[in-house]
C-alpha cells in the first residue's frame, strides 16, 4: 500500500513540474523533421517559415484591407527622398534628361488626385513618390476580360486567417499560400480525427460489452492510458522542453499498447508467466522506440522518449495500481483460425517477391499533399492571372549589411535592396540628384513661382524597418530571382531532398532496431524462441512494403515511420501469445482488433501523411497477428 501511495505522490509531483515547465506545442511541420544539419538547412527552415505566413488575396471584387502598418517605412522615404531612386529616374538622371524629369515633376505636382511621399519643398522632383509607385507593380492584372487585384497579407495567427476567410465568403475573391492550405488541411483533419475517435470509442464499447459484459472495464483502461500519456508527456517535456504536435499524433500508438497491458492484466494476471511476459514486452517495445533517438529526426526523437516513458508509466500503473481494481468477468472466445497455413504463407511470400520488384519511393513534397479542389483551382487561377516568379531563392552572404546590399543591387531579383539602397548606391543617387538641382532646380522654381528647400540626406540602412524580413542572420539575406541561376534553389525541392535523406536514415535504422530487439529477446527467451517471436513482426514489416509496392503506391517517409510502429505493436502480440494461456490469446485478439480498427480508420483520412501511416500499420499488424496465430502456439495450445 505504501509503495502505491509513494508511486502516486511521485507521479503527481512529476506531472505538476512537467506542466509548469511545458511550453506551447510547436506546429511548424518543418521543425518536426528537420534538425538542421547545416547552415543551408537552417536557412531553408527559416525561408519556409517566412512563406508560411503570407497569404495571396486576389479577385475581381473589392479585396479586404491590408491592415499592415507601413508608416515606419514611409517615414524613411519621406525623410530621405533623394537617397532612393527608381530605375527609371536613375536612368534619366544618369543621362542628364533634366527636361524629362522636370515635365514628370510638373505632371505630378498638378495631378488632381496625386499624392506625395515626401513634402514637395523637400522633394520637388517627386523622387520618393516615384520610387514608392515603382514598388507597386503587378498588383493588378487582366485575365479573360476581368481585372484581378492582388494583395499579399501577413497572417499572424489562425484567428486573423479565419476572419479573412469570413470576409471573402461569397465574393469573387480567392486565397492562396501556405497558411490557407495548412488551415483547411488541419480543419479537415481534425474533423476526420474526431469521427475516427468516435468510431474507435464505439468499437471499444462494443468490445467491452462482448468480452467483459460491462463498460465499467473502460475506467481502468482509460485511467491507464491517461497515466501513460502523462508519464510520457512529462518525461518528453523535461528532455525537449517544447514538443511538436506531431509527437502527440504519433504517440497515439501508446493508447493501443496501454490497452494491451491492461487487457493482459485482466486476462492473465493470475497466470505464472504474466509478469515476465509484461516486463519483456515492455522492455522490447521500449528498446524499439529508444533506438529512434539515433535517427536525428526531431519528431522521432520526441516519440522515442514520449512512448518509452509512456509505456514505462503504463507498466508501473498495471503493476502498482491495477490490483486496486476488481478483475472483471471475462469472456473467452474459443476459435481457431481455419485458413490453410501453407496458402497463407504462399500468398504472403508471393506478394513480397512481386512487390520487391516494384518498390518505388516518393520524396517530393508536392506529391505528399493533395489540396482540396477549391484551393487547387485558386492556385491554378493565381498562376494564370499573375504568373508569379517560380520561387527560386538565392542566398546573399556578406560581412555586413552594406556588402549584402551592394551584392543584391547587382542581381535582378526581389529582395531587401528593392526597398533600401546600400550606402554606396545612396551616395551615387545623392550625387546624381545634386547635379540635377544644380542644373535645373532654379528653372523649376521660376516656372512654379516658389522656392524649394530640397533634402539631400544619407540614410543609415542598418535602421531600415524591413531588414528583419529579408535577413536570415547578420550576414545572410535572400533574394527571389525570376529564373534558375547559379546558386539559386527552390524551397520545395530542397525540402524534398531533406525528406529523402530522412527516409534513407530511417530505412537504415530499421534493421538496427530489429537487430537490437532480437538480441534483447534472445537474452530473455533464448535464440530459438526469440526467432519465433521476431518472425511475425518481421513478416508484417516486409509484407507491408510488398503490398504497398504491389499497389503501385510509392513509399514515403511516413510509410517507413509506420514500419517502426508495426514492430512495436506486433512484438507484443508475439510475446503474449507465446507466454500466455488461452485467456491471454483473447487479450491479444481484442488488442489486435482495436489497434487494427484505429489505424484502418486513420488510413481513410485525407491528409496523406497520416493516411500513409494508418495504412502501413493496419497492413503490418494484421499480417503479423495472423502469422503469429500460425507460428506461435502457447503452452496450452500445444496440449
Amino acid at each position: 500500500m505504501i509503495k502505491r501511495i509513494l508511486f502516486l505522490i511521485f507521479s503527481i509531483i512529476f506531472f505538476i513540474f512537467a506542466f509548469l515547465y511545458a511550453k506551447p506545442p510547436e506546429a511548424d511541420l518543418m521543425k518536426a523533421f528537420i534538425n538542421p544539419h547545416s547552415q543551408m538547412e537552417k536557412n531553408i527552415v527559416k525561408l519556409a517559415g517566412i512563406s508560411s505566413t503570407t497569404v495571396n488575396v486576389f479577385g475581381t471584387d473589392e479585396i479586404p484591407n491590408n491592415n499592415q502598418d507601413f508608416s515606419e517605412i514611409l517615414d524613411v522615404y519621406r525623410e530621405y527622398p533623394a537617397s532612393f531612386l527608381s530605375a527609371h529616374k536613375r536612368e534619366l538622371l544618369k543621362n542628364r534628361q533634366y527636361r524629362e524629369l522636370e515635365n514628370e515633376a510638373l505632371e505630378g505636382i498638378y495631378s488632381p488626385l496625386g499624392f506625395y511621399a515626401a513634402p514637395i519643398d523637400k522633394d520637388p522632383y517627386l523622387l520618393a513618390t516615384d520610387f514608392l509607385i515603382s514598388k507597386n507593380k503587378n498588383e493588378a492584372a487582366e485575365f479573360e476580360g476581368k481585372t484581378y487585384q492582388l494583395s499579399r497579407l501577413k497572417i499572424q495567427n489562425t484567428k486573423e486567417l479565419e476572419s479573412l476567410i469570413e470576409d471573402v465568403k461569397g465574393k469573387d475573391i480567392y486565397l492562396t499560400g501556405t497558411p490557407v492550405h495548412s488551415y483547411f488541411a488541419s480543419k479537415k483533419s481534425s474533423k476526420e480525427i474526431n469521427i475516427i475517435c468516435l468510431i474507435s470509442i464505439l468499437g471499444l464499447i462494443v468490445l467491452s460489452k462482448i468480452f467483459f459484459h460491462s463498460v465499467k472495464v473502460l475506467i481502468p483502461i482509460v485511467l491507464s492510458i491517461i497515466f501513460g500519456f502523462l508519464f510520457g508527456f512529462s518525461a518528453c517535456t523535461f528532455v525537449f522542453g517544447k514538443l511538436h504536435v506531431l509527437t502527440f499524433v504519433f504517440s497515439t500508438s501508446l493508447i493501443g499498447i496501454s490497452l494491451d497491458y491492461v487487457l493482459h492484466y485482466f486476462y492473465g494476471s493470475c497466470s505464472r508467466g504474466f509478469k515476465t511476459g509484461l516486463t519483456s514486452s515492455m522492455l522490447t517495445t521500449v528498446t524499439a522506440f529508444l533506438t529512434l533517438l539515433f535517427s536525428n529526426i526531431e519528431v522521432l526523437r520526441q516519440i522515442a522518449i514520449f512512448t518509452s516513458f509512456g509505456l514505462l508509466g503504463v507498466y508501473l500503473f498495471v503493476i502498482f495500481i491495477l490490483p486496486c481494481f476488481k478483475i472483471p468477468d471475462t469472456y473467452n472466445l474459443n476459435w481457431r483460425l481455419r485458413f490453410p497455413k501453407k496458402l497463407f504463407y504462399t500468398i504472403i511470400l508471393a506478394v513480397i517477391a512481386i512487390g520487391a520488384f516494384n518498390i518505388k519511393f516518393e520524396d517530393n513534397l508536392k506529391n505528399l499533399y493533395v489540396p482540396p479542389k477549391h484551393l487547387f483551382e485558386a492556385e491554378a487561377l493565381y498562376q494564370k492571372v499573375f504568373n508569379p516568379q517560380a520561387g527560386e531563392f538565392l542566398l546573399i552572404e556578406g560581412a555586413n549589411l552594406e556588402e549584402i546590399l551592394e551584392k543584391e543591387e547587382s542581381i535582378d531579383g526581389f529582395g531587401l535592396s528593392n526597398f533600401v539602397s546600400s550606402t554606396k548606391r545612396q551616395n551615387e543617387n545623392l550625387a546624381l540628384v545634386k547635379e540635377l538641382y544644380n542644373a535645373d532646380l532654379a528653372l523649376l522654381e521660376n516656372k512654379l513661382g516658389v522656392k524649394f528647400n530640397p533634402s539631400l540626406k544619407l540614410y543609415d540602412s542598418e535602421k531600415f524597418p524591413l531588414n528583419k524580413e529579408f535577413m536570415l542572420d547578420n550576414t545572410t539575406s535572400f533574394v527571389i530571382v525570376p529564373k534558375k541561376t547559379a546558386g539559386s534553389f527552390n524551397i520545395a525541392d530542397e525540402i524534398s531532398k531533406i525528406l529523402k535523406r530522412l527516409r534513407y536514415t530511417s530505412l537504415k535504422l530499421l534493421p538496427v532496431v530489429f537487430g537490437m530487439l532480437f538480441i534483447l529477446l534472445s537474452c530473455i527467451y533464448g535464440v530459438k524462441k526469440a526467432l519465433k517471436i521476431s518472425f511475425s513482426p518481421l513478416l508484417g514489416v516486409v509484407f507491408t512494403v510488398g503490398v504497398l509496392s504491389l499497389s503501385r503506391l510509392s513509399l514515403n517517409l511516413f510509410h517507413i515511420l509506420g514500419l517502426f510502429l508495426i514492430l512495436g505493436f506486433s512484438l507484443d502480440y508475439s510475446i503474449f501469445r507465446l507466454n500466455g494461456d488461452e485467456k491471454s490469446n483473447n487479450a491479444v485478439f481484442i488488442s489486435f482488433v482495436s489497434t487494427a480498427l484505429s489505424f484502418l480508420l486513420l488510413s481513410f483520412t485525407s491528409f496523406k501523411l497520416i493516411s500513409s501511416l494508418g495504412l502501413t500499420i493496419f497492413i503490418g499488424v494484421t499480417v503479423s497477428y495472423i502469422s503469429s496465430l500460425f507460428m506461435l502456439k502457447s503452452e496450452h495450445e500445444k496440449i
Binding site: T54, E62, N65, N66, F70, S71, I73, L74, N103, L106, E107, I109, Y110, S111, P112, L113, G114, F115, Y116, A117, P119, I120, D121, K122, L132, I133, K135, N136, E139, A140, A141, E142, T147, Q149, S151, R152, K154, F419, K447, L448, V450, E469
Partner: protein, 155 residues
C-alpha cells in the same frame, strides 16, 4: 511583404449616416465633359491649374490639364480601380458600397466623406468634400492628412 499602395488608399471604400435621407438629396450624375480649375495647397505653396474634364460612367475620369503645363491624368485603368469605384458609387448613388470605410454627412449641398479608422484611406485622407449642383458636381475638395488641400471647380 509588398509595400503599400498609396494611390488606391486615397479612394478606398466609404460609409454613410442616414444613407436614405442623403441619397434623396443628391442627384445621380451621368457622363460629362466640362472645364475644370484646380488649386492645390501643399507645403505652404499654391499651385493653380486648369483644363478639360471628362467623366465617363463606368469607365472613370480624365483630367486634361492645359495650363500651366499640358498633361493628362487618366483614372480609367485597372490601377485606379479603387478611385473609380468611389466615383462610380457617388455618381450612381450606390452609397451602400461606400459605407464600410467612410462616414459621411450632407449639409447645404455639400457631401462630406471621412474615412473610418478601419479604412485603408484613414492614414492618408482626412476629408473629401463634394459640392453638388442640380445635376452635376460643382466642386470637390480633397484634404490629405499631410495637409495637402486640393480644390477642383467644375464649370
Amino acid at each position: 511583404m509588398r509595400i503599400l499602395f498609396v494611390l488606391p488608399l486615397l479612394a478606398a471604400p466609404v460609409f454613410a449616416q442616414n444613407l436614405s435621407d442623403i441619397a434623396l438629396q443628391i442627384p445621380q450624375f451621368d457622363s460629362i465633359k466640362c472645364k475644370f480649375k484646380q488649386e492645390k495647397q501643399v507645403s505652404g505653396m499654391v499651385f493653380k491649374s486648369s483644363g478639360d474634364f471628362v467623366f465617363e460612367k463606368d469607365k472613370g475620369v480624365i483630367f486634361y490639364t492645359t495650363y500651366p503645363v499640358k498633361s493628362t491624368a487618366s483614372y480609367t485603368t485597372k490601377e485606379y480601380r479603387h478611385i473609380n469605384n468611389v466615383i462610380n458609387a457617388i455618381a450612381g448613388k450606390n452609397y451602400s458600397k461606400l459605407e464600410k470605410d467612410f462616414e459621411f454627412s450632407f449639409d447645404n449641398r455639400i457631401l462630406k466623406l471621412m474615412p473610418k479608422p478601419v479604412s485603408q484611406a484613414y492614414n492618408h485622407l482626412k476629408l473629401l468634400e463634394i459640392e453638388t449642383g442640380d445635376a452635376k458636381i460643382n466642386k470637390i475638395v480633397i484634404l490629405l492628412c499631410d495637409g495637402t488641400k486640393t480644390s477642383i471647380w467644375f464649370q
